[in-house]
Each structure stands twice: as structure tokens, then as C-alpha cells.
């Protein structure tokens, strides 16, 4: 678990640096939704528990990525009105609603 956290943190830093170097800003934004934590976490899970152990995590991530799409769309609306800090934190609710809702609808 500690290894996942450490490598996940490093992967986030790596992708964010690539995004920081990229321009124009919309292109750099692609790296804001990069699968940084996912790559690290799925790789370690596959090594420790085998591929079969990693597949359910990837299935959950597929649901979570619908939430991420909702988050980004809602943050576009909220950033204009409430600025980045408040808008981007409030947009977490969109992730929660979509990812949580889909998870409940599709069944655990």
C-alpha cells in the first residue's frame, strides 16, 4: 500500500511536469486527466496479486472516468462563476454523483 502511494505520487508529479511544459493550455490540460495514479496502482496490483486481481480495479476506474468527464465539464461552468479554487472543489460533487451513481446502478 505504501509502495502504491509512493509511486502514485511520483507518477502524478511526472505527468504534471509534462503538462506544465506543454502548450497551448488546452493541450497541456490533457495531462490534467492523465492516468498517473492508475498506471502505478494497476501495475503494482498486477505484480502483487496477478492480472486477475487488477481487472476489478480497472473496471472501477472505467466508472470513475465517467465521473472525471462530468467533473471537467461541470468545472468549465463553475470556474467562470466562482473562480478556480471554489469551482474546481465544488465540481467534485459532479464526480461523486456520476461515479457513485453509476457504481450503484451497475452494482458492486
Amino acid at each position: 500500500m505504501a509502495l502504491k502511494a509512493l509511486i502514485g505520487g511520483l507518477a502524478v508529479v511526472g505527468f504534471s511536469l509534462v503538462g506544465h511544459a506543454g502548450h497551448p493550455k488546452r493541450f497541456a490540460g490533457l495531462f490534467s486527466a492523465a492516468p498517473s495514479v492508475a498506471v502505478a496502482s494497476l501495475a503494482i496490483t498486477a505484480v502483487l496479486k496477478g492480472a486477475a486481481g487488477a481487472v476489478p480495479y480497472a473496471r472501477g476506474m472505467l466508472i470513475g472516468s465517467a465521473g472525471m468527464l462530468a467533473y471537467c465539464l461541470v468545472s468549465l461552468y463553475l470556474i467562470q462563476r466562482l473562480h478556480a479554487l471554489v469551482g474546481s472543489i465544488l465540481a467534485w460533487l459532479a464526480w461523486l454523483l456520476v461515479a457513485g451513481g453509476l457504481y450503484l446502478v451497475l452494482g458492486s
Binding site: M1, G9, V12, K25, A33, P35, Y57, G67, I79
Partner: protein, 150 residues
Amino acid sequence: MEGDVLQQDDREPVAFDWSRLASVKPVELGLRFVFGTVIALVAAIAGTAAGPRFGGLFLAFPAVLPATLTLIEKKEGMTKAWADASGGVLGALGLGAFACTAVLLLRWNPIGALFLALVAWAAVSAGLYFLFRVTGLFLRQDRLVSKAGS
């Protein structure tokens, strides 16, 4: 949102300017590292406590985005933060392609599957970016969101 700033930025050629990394402060990197570490831990703990499918949800949680967008707004203004989130929409579609590829190929070969999943993320997100850029779909999207926001 300033439309002229956005259009001017959009006209820049796509490239990586690695010299910009010199302006990144250690505290900004530390903040991202902490958020990344925390969300990886949350995913692992949630997976152990409530099942791996539940834990997997957090592999696509936008933990770092509020910090990223706030820093961009502080340094470069709200329009640039908005543009970053706009790119994030396409990146999120790529994230879905990553997860799909991983689900389909992990049993075949985990390392190969994750490599191909990364390729799928890059192809879908960058492919959509260039499609939107070339066809002027960004402009339509901006008008739509501006109208909704006004």
C-alpha cells in the same frame, strides 16, 4: 473568460517547452506529490475495505486538478485555468479509453496491457484535441459554455 486570450493561446503551435520547468516551485511539486500519494492510498484502502471495483473508482478521481487549476489561475489568469479544464474534458475521454483497454487486455499481459492502455489514452485525448482544433469545435464548445455561464 476572455475570448481573445483563449483564441490567441489556441493559435500557438503544439509543443513542449522544457525550459518552463525551471519556473516550477518545489512546493508546487510537493503539493501534487501529496495529493497523488493520498489518492493512491485512498484507492488502496477503499479496495481492501469495500472491494477492488470500489477502490478502482478513485483511480480516476480528480484529486490534483483543484490545486493545478488554482495555481494556473493565480499565475496566468482565469482564462488559462479554464482552458486547462477544457483540455481535461478530452483527457477524461482518453482516461475512459485507458480503462477500457486495461479491462480488456490485463489478463493477456499486464505490462503490455498497461503500455497499450497508455497509448490508447494518448491517442484518444491527443486525437480529439487535434480534431477539435482543426475543425473549430473548441470555438463552438466555448460559445456553448459561455452561454450557459452567462
